[in-house]
């Protein structure tokens, strides 16, 4: 989706503002928001791409005017609502009215450390040979999917060079096919593709700048 989350190369946001004495959390609710988002992810009722898709699908004005943990909470409300895990009435009252839906698992205190240390690897056994090789020129396809994708707009239609081949990784665009488990974990070859600054930003711009994205094979086409 060509959403406002796809920010690479946008202008007008001003300078980057480092904080002199930054704290990990800036409001008391932020740590709870982070933890509840992580813990609810562990329930297995959605995957990382469905979570990203929920965040990207917030109304653009809401997305742009929310802090990042606020985006997480708004998306978490949507994710739980869409699956019937909570109801709008329960959310507004903060009280349980309907019985819970079954979930794949619940992250308990004594499993937190192991779960975080394990993570959720996305590397899969490849079922076909890689189409592209290191050093090869490729073009990011000029595609505009309605749904979730991880191909940023600023590289679409531009030519770059394959710098790394990472093996086959779960393909985000189809990882969101089903909203409940079992998810579609189809994998595609993943490449780091490097673009020269002027190719992305025009002649005279971006000199001495190289930018790479990690792009799945369906995002790319061969350059003859």
């Amino acid at each position: 989706m060509n959403g406002v989350h796809d920010m690479g190369g946008m202008q007008g946001f001003g300078r980057v503002m480092p904080e002199p004495d930054e704290s990990l959390f800036h409001e008391s609710w932020e740590s709870r928001a982070m933890a509840v988002t992580v813990a609810m992810g562990a329930c297995g009722q959605w995957n990382i791409d469905l979570a990203r898709s929920a965040r990207e699908s917030l109304p653009p004005a809401i997305y742009l005017s929310s802090s990042y943990y606020e985006i997480w909470i708004r998306a978490l409300e949507q994710l739980t609502l869409e699956r019937g895990m909570v109801t709008a009435s329960e959310l507004s009252r903060g009280q349980m009215q309907d019985p819970p839906r079954p979930v794949a698992r619940v992250l308990k205190f004594d499993t937190v450390d192991a779960a975080l240390a394990a993570g959720t690897p996305t590397l899969r056994e490849a079922t076909s040979p890689a189409r592209f090789a290191i050093g090869q020129h490729v073009r990011a396809r000029n595609i505009h999917p309605q749904g979730h994708t991880r191909l940023p707009r600023y590289v679409r239609g531009h030519t770059g060079k394959v710098a790394m081949v990472h093996g086959a990784h779960v393909y985000p665009d189809s990882h969101v096919d089903r909203s409940l488990p079992p998810f579609n974990t189809h994998a595609e070859w993943l490449y780091t593709v490097v673009f020269e600054g002027p190719e992305l930003w025009g002649e005279g711009a971006g000199a001495q700048v190289q930018v790479s994205v990690d792009a799945w094979e369906p995002y790319l086409e061969a350059v003859l």
Binding site: D6, M10, A35, F109, V112, D214
Partner: protein
């Protein structure tokens, strides 16, 4: 939910709960009552990222790479395994790649699409990393971003920006500051700033 912040509070309660405070508390309470989350697990998650997992992990990785040539090469060849050998692995660091700064090339890491960040070695991302300004500007004007952090590199430097659009997470291996030849790993780690491992800063030539 807009009416929540008009609650009145007793004398022992905070005088003001923000709308988000109320919203997150209500959500956590509801999800706990439903049995989806264990509040003790939430406490533990917070404790881990507040006290155990943070940039000091990454600093240890960098300091070891500066001091140990074999580890340096392993880190650049297979960062996931090299970093795991120091005990750092997992969520948001499942597939690691380390990229080394040189006198000619300065690396910078961004996630233009969301906030992807190598949690096991850097902890939770700072606000600026998730900000629209950084996500928009890093891929177009990395030199300008560095200037926003008060850092200037020689004119001839090439900027190499890594947009983390997949589940690969990047660690910048900053250049070892001059005059640190006599320092051991522990001392070297103190020279490694969080920003130097993202590419919005440099390792410290001297301790503040």
């Amino acid at each position: 939910m807009s009416d929540h912040h008009h609650h009145t509070h007793g004398p022992d309660e905070p005088s003001h709960l923000s709308e988000m405070d109320v919203r997150v508390r209500a959500l956590e309470t509801l999800l706990t009552r439903k049995g989806y989350v264990d509040p003790a697990a939430l406490d533990r998650i917070i404790e881990i990222y507040e006290t155990e997992v943070g940039p000091h992990n990454g600093a240890r990785v960098v300091a070891k790479a500066w001091s140990d040539a074999a580890f340096h090469d392993w880190l650049l060849q297979d960062a996931t395994a090299a970093i795991a050998s120091l005990g750092y692995s997992g969520r948001q660091g499942e597939h690691m790649v380390a990229v080394a700064n040189t006198p000619e090339v300065h690396n910078m890491v961004v996630c233009t699409l969301c906030s992807c960040y190598p949690w096991p070695i850097l902890g939770l991302p700072p606000v600026w990393y998730k900000s629209a300004a950084y996500r928009a500007k890093a891929v177009m004007d990395p030199r300008g971003v560095l200037a926003d952090f008060g850092v200037t590199l020689p004119e001839q430097s090439t900027f190499r920006v890594w947009d983390s659009t997949a589940e690969v997470r990047y660690l910048v291996l900053p250049m070892r500051p001059p005059g640190t030849e006599h320092l051991n790993e522990e001392q070297l780690a103190l020279r490694v700033t969080r920003n130097s491992m993202i590419g919005t800063g440099l390792a410290l030539t001297e301790l503040a």
